[in-house]
C-alpha cells in the first residue's frame, strides 16, 4: 500500500528567523502593516511503498528527528494524507 505524507518543519519558538523578518518587512513595504509575525519553514512530501499507516507514522517521525529537522532549532509535524 502506498502511504503519502506531508512533513512540516518549523523553527522553534524563540529562534530568530532572519528570512521571516525580511519577508515581514517586505510585506510592510507592500502596504500590509498589519503583518505582525512571519516564520518560514519547510514543507516536505514523502511517499512510502508497502507500509501500513501506523508503521509509516512511526518511521516518518524517526526520519524527521534524524534528518529532516534539526531538533536543536526546529520542530516537525507529520501528516499522513493517503493510505
Amino acid at each position: 500500500m502506498l502511504v503519502k505524507a506531508k512533513i512540516y518543519v518549523t523553527l522553534k519558538e524563540g529562534v530568530l528567523d532572519p528570512q521571516g523578518e525580511a519577508v515581514k518587512n517586505s510585506l510592510h513595504v507592500l502596504g500590509y502593516p498589519q503583518v505582525g509575525q512571519v516564520r518560514i519553514g519547510k514543507y516536505i512530501e514523502i511517499g512510502l511503498d508497502g507500509q501500513d499507516r501506523e508503521r509509516a507514522q512511526k518511521e516518518l517521525a524517526e526520519m524527521s528527528d534524524k534528518l529532516l529537522a534539526n531538533p536543536v532549532i526546529e520542530d516537525f509535524r507529520v501528516e499522513i494524507t493517503e493510505g
Binding site: 530568530l16 532572519p18 534528518l67 536543536v72 532549532i73
Partner: protein, 233 residues
Amino acid sequence: MRVGVVVFPGSNCDADCYHVIRDVLLEDVEYIWHQEKEIKGFDALILPGGFSYGDYLRTGAIARFSPVMPAVVDFAQRGGLVIGICNGFQILLEVGLLPGAMLRNRSLKFICEPVWLKVKQSSTPFTNQIPESELLQIPIAHGEGNYYCDPQTLAELQQEGRILFTYCGPNGEESDSFNPNGSLANIAAITNKEGNVLGMMPHPERCSEAVLGGSDGVKIFASMMKWCQEVKF
C-alpha cells in the same frame, strides 16, 4: 603530525588545508574520502569548508551521515584532534560532536571578508602558540554562520571556557557592531567538553602565508602540531 583532510562531495577548501599542512608546516597529510569507513594512523583530522551535498536540507545535514562519519566520531571520542572549519563546523554541529546549530546570517547575505577574532583561551590544543587576548585577522566566507544554542548550553560554553574565538573590532571590542552574522555572544569558535574538537567559522587555511596577505591562520595549525608533538593520544 599526520593529518587527514576529510573530503565530502562539495568540499572546496580541502586542497587549501592540504597545502598548508604539507607546504607551510612541512608535515604529513593525506586526503580521506567520505566513503572510507576506517581512519588509521592520524594525529589530527580536518573537516574542511565548502558546500557538502550542496547544503541541501540544512548545511552539514547530509554529510553528517556519510560513511566516514562514525570513524570521525570514534576518532574524536578517543581524544584525536578534530578541527571543523566553516562547513566542517556545521557538520560537527549536525553530528553532535559540538552543541548548537547554525542559522542564516542575520543580514541574509553571504559574507566574505576578513574579520578580527579575540583569542579567549590560550592553553588549548588549537591556541597554545597564541597569547591570550591576542587578536587574529582571519577571513570568513559563509551564509549560515549565525551560531545558536539554548541559554543553558551557552552558559556551559562560557563557564567551561569552551568559546575559543569571538568576533571583535580592530581593538578587541566584543560588541554587536563587530558581530558579522548575528552569532550568540559573538561566538566564532567553540570546542567540545574535552577540548579536542574545535569548530570555527573563519578560514585559517586562507591566511597561513604572508603571500596571501596574512599568516594568522597558521598559528592554529602550528598549535595543533605542537600539541601533537607533546601529547600522543
